[in-house]
Subunit: 110 residues, 2 copies
Amino acid sequence: MAADTDIAATPQPPYYAVIFTSTRTPGDDGYGAMAARMMKMAAEQPGFLGVETARDGVGITVSYWRNLEDIANWKRVAEHREAQRNGREKWYAAFKTRIAKVERDYGFER
Amino acid sequence: MAADTDIAATPQPPYYAVIFTSTRTPGDDGYGAMAARMMKMAAEQPGFLGVETARDGVGITVSYWRNLEDIANWKRVAEHREAQRNGREKWYAAFKTRIAKVERDYGFER
């Protein structure tokens, strides 16, 4: 399982979101450890603003970034590339990645 | 619980995403029925392109729309406004809504 997350404390827009939606193949096969490791590594990258993740059938991980260059740099980190390769080879039945510019946000806290 | 979803079959970008992240108050208190009803109603609105949802501690629901006007119209639908009001009054401990323009996407299917 990915680490538990809460609602990300992102700054004022504009900023970017990477919406990663996936369905898994059966079994763990190293997936849980990789997911936890990638969450930790992402948080250490320049321009990282936060992440939210949940899985319940479909898995949705939304990471937030300062700009497109930060997203491109994270995609190229060697250990992350290896995770992407293993994702296609064994962990994911299907996935979709969407790069989106957050233009507006609002919220509520009790 | 919200209805099970899979990866949304969205068209070529650009289009819009509404990323709704929330944490719940304890108990159901009509939440499950409302969530299922809102998923069904959203899918009937003009400009709706798809939805993905998962809850596992934090809940993430991403709905996809043709443009900002479609999103604004859905926000104003009477029964949806009632759900928003009840969300603030009883169902959500906290939430954040982010409106984002999807600029690029790519995916994989086994």
